[in-house]
Symmetry: C2
Subunit: 228 residues, 2 copies
């Protein structure tokens, strides 16, 4: 194998959550060159005997401080353009994580602390390396997957109301949805959500039923964004 060019392999994470009616991404501020002081996606090198999903889960746990707190983690894509890292030939396997709004503050064990940054405010801001592109791909993947999978539940706590789920769709898509039609659609799609039997208390308005994520892995029919 010594005859073939050696690469460094890293994992980078696009960690998304919905908090305060905004879609936010977990970013770190780089403390060392290159791109010192710039925002970047959290990530790190893959260990010699470590599988790729394990490396992604390890980094996620390190950055959020929580050992896989429900949520969702999937591979997003791999980026390896020569020159993307000035230190050498680095190929990064990017992962997309969707998490509920974490009550605990995100206190990573890394030197640079991680922060939630609303994606709407990232207009001109440049991320380190090719992380702009990776983040854009992650956002597009998340938006698309809400249509035909029950993945919106990954943004919610274990038990949630239909209105909370609707807020996720509205926040990620940036649209408004009719509460009545959304309710009919969610409760009518087999396996999307299963009622827990209890209701909310102490909130404004009529108490809402609590649901858990259902067994479905694909939505039939899908939740379509407006078309015409």
């Amino acid at each position: 194998m010594a005859e073939y060019p050696p690469f460094a392999v890293t994992v980078d994470l696009v960690v998304l959550t919905v908090r305060a009616d905004e879609l936010a991404v977990l970013l770190v501020r780089r403390g060392v060159p290159p791109y010192e002081g710039a925002w970047a996606l959290p990530g790190g090198f893959v260990g010699v005997d470590e599988d790729l999903p394990d490396a992604a889960a390890r980094e996620l746990a390190e950055e959020t401080g929580l050992p896989e707190p429900a949520g969702h983690l999937e591979q997003l894509g791999t980026y390896g353009r020569p020159g993307r890292d000035p230190r050498g030939r680095v190929v990064t396997v990017a992962w997309l994580a969707l998490l509920p709004d974490l009550p605990a503050p995100v206190a990573g064990t890394d030197a640079a602390a991680a922060e939630w940054v609303p994606v709407a405010g990232l207009g001109r801001r440049r991320l380190a390396f090719d992380h702009d592109r990776i983040l854009a791909d992650g956002l597009e993947r998340a938006r698309a997957k809400l249509e035909y999978t029950p993945l919106a539940t990954a943004f919610c706590p274990a038990e949630f109301t239909v209105a909370q789920l609707r807020t996720v769709y509205e926040t990620v898509w940036g649209t408004r949805l009719d509460p009545r039609n959304f309710h009919r659609k969610v409760t009518g799609t087999p396996g999307f959500v299963t009622p827990v039997g209890r209701s909310t208390e102490g909130e404004r308005g009529r108490p809402a039923q609590l649901f858990r994520r259902g067994p479905a892995t694909l939505l039939h029919p899908p939740m379509l964004r407006q078309q015409r």
Copy 2:
């Protein structure tokens, strides 16, 4: 960078086509250990100064003998389980290619010649490395993408009839579709196909209009596989 573990990085290809009403995948027979004599996905090492899409396109051109003959090429996923290659730590970036039935025989420049193998006949056959898993993921990706993208056209020549397109769906999904409803749906979905103005000649039955792939990148509404 010398402090971080070195990896070898390869690209592997899941190249699919529809020929003789069968879904077929391009496989090579390995001529050297490990897995000597076993079927494997075509692939190879990424060059020192080569971007990942370039490496995939290069391998595809080498194996099919054609310089990117239309069709479609997208990243499928990255696989890097320790021990997946007995020679060392190898991470492979897998790509999915969809090609029309090539008139020219597939004569790769590699030592081992490539062959089209119907996926239906691959029941028990084990592929080298973790290529079984990669192939399964590629098939699932292809089947899913036919639903909500116009990617079925990648299996067709530049100009095709509605019936040819229907055969693609029937072959990839393993189902039968009603010709009349399929025709209405394809011609009624904006941007899916655009008429060329000419018709087939010398075929059996009534001549069929020729179409090209339309500008749409997503199908609204999608082509759904039977559900209930």
